[in-house]
Symmetry: C2
Subunit: 403 residues, 2 copies
């Protein structure tokens, strides 16, 4: 850390003070070198620790994205994603960009100008859904909830009764900004009763707690590779029901985005016979996602949820003993993302930085109104293990002077 | 190859014939395993062979995208990209998605509904530009050229004279579908004389032939990580001039895309002091791009262009001796992408597949009307070396029975 700060400062100081281009070039030549990242323990809101097996897969030799071997891999990734989402949806693929692009793929394809949309928001990512729906041309009715509280099914039902022309309802399953879980099953059942398409943000929930896309009647779900799948960031698994597919196939207006137009993306992932070129898939990231999903399959979904819960319980007991309080009521807590209010004796930013510098542990700060007040301690995927819990608790105890 | 085909077929045959879910699950469990890609020589239109140093960088441990160490790396990547594009543009960053998203970032931000746009097209990617400009709401005047010929500066000038209300001119520097280079410098100078913003597709040109963004008065350029930079696919380096930045900062309408809104993306890459959260950068891919750019800097841009030309010349001499003809006139040929018409004695698809199966060499087929008629032989980045040229020529000779 200190070294790095110094290097960065030196670099800029030199750049500012060296007048001649020749000298500047010489200095820059000296300064750039291979980047060797510090070895962090990633217990923030994501990315989470990546399993070395996945890093190994990531670094294998690149092959062409139209190579027959890659086509076989794509088919396997689709099958494995169906397992993770608990769905039979044919259209189940990774979008070649981070979770934000997965969110945009849902709204850009399923919302047409003038469509009435309800977004249930209780944190940063609900707000982002609102923004996406708006940019797709939707008329958005925003059901705002207090941060840290789950979405209220009764409010959704009332809103749908008052607005029978709403055609799509969107919500965040696991709000990464607060660590709260909403009852996606109940919310989607209500929306479906009113004939709406349902969109669910599963970025932080997938593989950490149950997601049952088909049972819950979710029409479009998206996730991120870098949370409970423990893969590197950069891909966004998505799945669309047949009803969602019909919606974008029968649009009256073209999708704003060419890159995220599911009419085109679907054909790129259509399998050996029907495949047509769209963009160049991030081949190595797909290797990594395949390995991550394989690891999930080997452990089993149910066991993965169980492990996340066990490590959360262990951490919770320690933290409560040390004077931390949870932001979210127990019933709605995400085991993989612990939003905790610090005891008054700990300075938030100072302690967080010293965890990073002294222990290489990354925990996340609060966002918006919660900045400076809470930490978001992730126990996601590969990072959800007893050793990480104990290391983190030990570090906090030392900072509290109680070790 | 044969093994893989067999595995894939078996997999699907089992899936189709096994009725019970239990049996299906058991079969799937057996079938999925770690993917070990074949070791290809990538001489198609991209991705190209990735330098092992870059694969090494890619597989290093993931750190948080808000980690101070990552912020330092982002700054270095920006500096190194400025070197590659030959620009001083402050806004020079990699978009967290493939080249197609880089293209979309340019049009989605720089074109507002009703803006008049000229797209100079002479291949697949010019057509894609047209589609992007249209979806951004632009009124597009398409200057279509014969595939394999460069864009005609006189036609552009005439079109601008006739249409003084055009505000943006876009063109492909190196058309990946045909291997032709257009005179971007002259075309941009003309467009600037008429007060237009200029957008240049440098996906296949960057690092393979000269790209001099500032000298040529290019306002927005985008490239891909997987061509002459020899990095893994998945990132799209872009650079915007101050004039381009002013354009998107003063838009009357919001950008359709949230993920590619440069008002937001710019802040994410703004450096330690001013940085604000947008999406999660694909951390490991950024490690890889950094290493790729470092390798480019160590070799030197001019030397990289020289090497691409030398290996092209070597390949050309051999291929012409063997009865291949080049699609593109010598003056406009891209050394990194050789579009060649096969001698009549070679069956296109059969020979291409046998190069893949017998030699692990990937060359690209033709697209559109050129399908079945040409090959696109890439000599890009790390793949542009004498050994690859000789291996490819040897394989072709064997297929011709002349070895």
């Amino acid at each position: 850390m200190t070294d790095l700060k110094l290097t960065t400062m030196t670099r800029w100081t030199i750049k500012d003070n060296v007048r001649s281009n020749f000298q500047k070039k010489a200095c820059l030549d000296l300064m750039f070198k291979t980047f060797n990242p510090p070895e962090r323990i990633l217990m923030g809101p994501g990315p989470s620790d990546v399993n070395p097996r996945i890093l190994g897969a990531l670094g294998r030799p690149t092959i062409g994205h139209l190579d027959p071997a890659f086509l076989g891999l794509m088919d396997e990734v689709k099958d494995l994603l169906r397992y993770a989402f608990k769905t039979e949806n044919e259209l189940t693929i990774p979008i070649s960009a981070p979770g934000s692009a997965g969110m945009e793929a849902c709204f850009a394809n399923l919302v047409e100008p003038g469509d009435k949309v309800i977004v249930c928001s209780n944190g940063v990512f609900g707000g982002r859904m609102h923004e996406n729906a708006r940019r797709a041309g939707g008329e958005v009715l925003l059901l705002e909830h207090e941060w840290g509280k789950p979405v209220n099914p009764e409010r959704l039902e009332q809103a749908l009764k008052k607005n029978p022309d709403v055609s799509l309802v969107a919500m965040v399953h696991a709000e990464t900004s607060t660590g709260v879980r909403s009852d996606a099953k109940t919310l989607c059942e209500i929306a479906k009763r009113f004939g709406c398409l349902t969109v669910l943000d599963c970025v932080t929930s997938l593989a950490g707690v149950e997601v049952a896309m088909d049972d819950w009647k979710v029409d479009a779900a998206y996730s991120g590779s870098q949370k409970c799948l423990s893969c590197v960031p950069g891909l966004s698994p998505i799945s669309f029901s047949d009803e969602a597919v019909r919606k974008f196939k029968n649009r009256k207006t073209p999708v704003n985005s060419w890159f995220l137009d599911m009419n085109l993306v679907t054909d790129y992932w259509a399998g050996e016979e029907k495949r047509s070129y769209h963009h160049t898939a991030p081949v190595n990231s797909v290797y990594a996602l395949h390995e991550a999903l394989l690891i999930l399959k080997e452990e089993g979904l149910e066991q993965s949820w169980k492990r996340h819960l066990e490590n959360h319980t262990l951490l919770r007991n320690f933290l409560e003993d040390l004077g931390f309080r949870f932001l979210v009521d127990e019933e709605y807590r995400l085991p993989q993302l612990n939003a905790v209010i610090l005891p008054p004796s700990l300075n938030e930013a100072e302690t967080r930085l010293s965890l990073l510098n002294d222990y290489n542990i990354e925990v996340g700060p609060g966002l918006g109104a919660l900045a400076g007040k809470i930490w978001r301690i992730g126990l996601m995927g590969y990072a959800s293990n007893k050793r990480n819990v104990m290391t983190c608790v030990t570090a906090i105890k030392e900072k509290l002077g109680s070790f």
